[in-house]
């Protein structure tokens, strides 16, 4: 077995472990910590796919900002004091739906003959990726900035208390 396969299985196991922790942990703070593990392991998967830029973005945005936001929301909504808020009676149905999707999706992925499979992954240079983003995808980029601005203003207005509250 080549060393990259060993690394892949290690990182994949970490990802699945983290994801299992997120959905199964009885303590919500543990859930959030497992989420950090899963997100950092996914960054490792991105590096294996030679997408270093996305791995860096993943660590910065998910590993840092998103998990901090989620922990803050947990603190402010006191979700820890509500043990009944963990799982609902729909658990068996949820497991069934997830298993059905998993079976279908794995079957589709394994049985398909993937065309044009390259023998080795070509490294994506930052420079080319940036050029492509700002030349071919400039309009979506600007729209994404607008989406972020709207989300920023909307979140402030929603979370701010009203006058006299």
């Amino acid at each position: 077995m080549a060393y990259e396969e060993v690394i892949f299985y290690f990182v994949a196991a970490l990802t699945v472990l983290g994801a299992l922790g997120v959905v199964l942990a009885r303590n919500v703070v543990h859930s959030a910590l497992f989420l950090i593990l899963a997100l950092l392991a996914v960054a490792g998967v991105f590096i294996l796919l030679s997408a270093e830029f996305l791995a860096i973005v993943q660590v910065l945005i998910y590993g840092g900002a998103v998990t901090i936001l989620i922990l803050f929301a947990m603190m402010l909504t006191r979700v820890r004091d509500m043990p009944q808020a963990l799982d609902g009676p729909q658990k068996p149905f949820a497991a069934l739906a997830a298993a059905a999707f998993l079976g279908l999706s794995v079957l589709a992925a394994v049985s398909t003959e993937w065309p044009g499979e390259t023998d080795q992954i070509t490294l994506v240079p930052f420079r080319d990726l940036g050029e492509s983003l700002f030349r071919n995808w400039a309009a979506p980029f600007e729209i994404a900035s607008l989406v972020l601005l709207v989300a920023l203003i909307g979140a402030i207005i929603l979370a701010r208390g009203e006058e006299g509250e």
């Binding site: 990259e4 994949a12 990802t15 299992l20 997120v22 959905v23 919500v28 859930s31 989420l35 899963a38 997100l39 996914v42 991105f46 796919l49 030679s50 996305l54 973005v57 993943q58 945005i61 998910y62 998103v66 936001l69 989620i70 929301a73 909504t77 979700v79 509500m82 808020a85 963990l86 609902g88 729909q90 149905f93 949820a94 739906a97 997830a98 998993l102 999706s105 992925a109 394994v110 993937w114 044009g116 499979e117 390259t118 023998d119 080795q120 070509t122 994506v124 492509s132 983003l133 995808w137 994404a144 989406v147 972020l148 709207v150 989300a151 909307g154 979140a155 929603l158 979370a159 208390g161």
Partner: protein, 102 residues
């Protein structure tokens, strides 16, 4: 060389765990975390297809960047909404927020 199927199976597992979390959990914050897992699965798929099937174009990578951008906006807005619900109803349990249920 790792075959592309490995990445697709990994992202399938991640997505199913996200589905399970969204359906089974009752706290809005935990549901959001499961949604994050599903978005991660989608990003892995996009990048795997981009580097394996069309390495000379960056469409999949660019799409993954936009997925991350939209996910960041989504988390910010959704948590603000959860906070608002908590302030009005003193709970973040989605089963108890049923004012629109007939």
């Amino acid at each position: 060389m790792i075959p592309i199927e490995n990445f697709l199976v990994l992202s399938s597992i991640l997505f199913s765990l996200g589905i399970y979390g969204v359906l089974a959990r009752r706290s809005a914050v935990l549901i959001l975390m499961s949604v994050e897992l599903m978005l991660q699965a989608v990003s892995i798929n996009f990048i795997a297809f981009a580097v394996y099937l069309s390495p000379e174009q960056f469409t999949g990578l660019i799409f993954a960047i936009f997925v991350i951008t939209v996910a960041a906006a989504e988390v910010g807005l959704a948590l603000a909404i959860v906070l608002r619900i908590y302030r009005n109803k003193a709970t973040a349990n989605v089963d108890e927020v049923d004012a629109l249920k007939w």
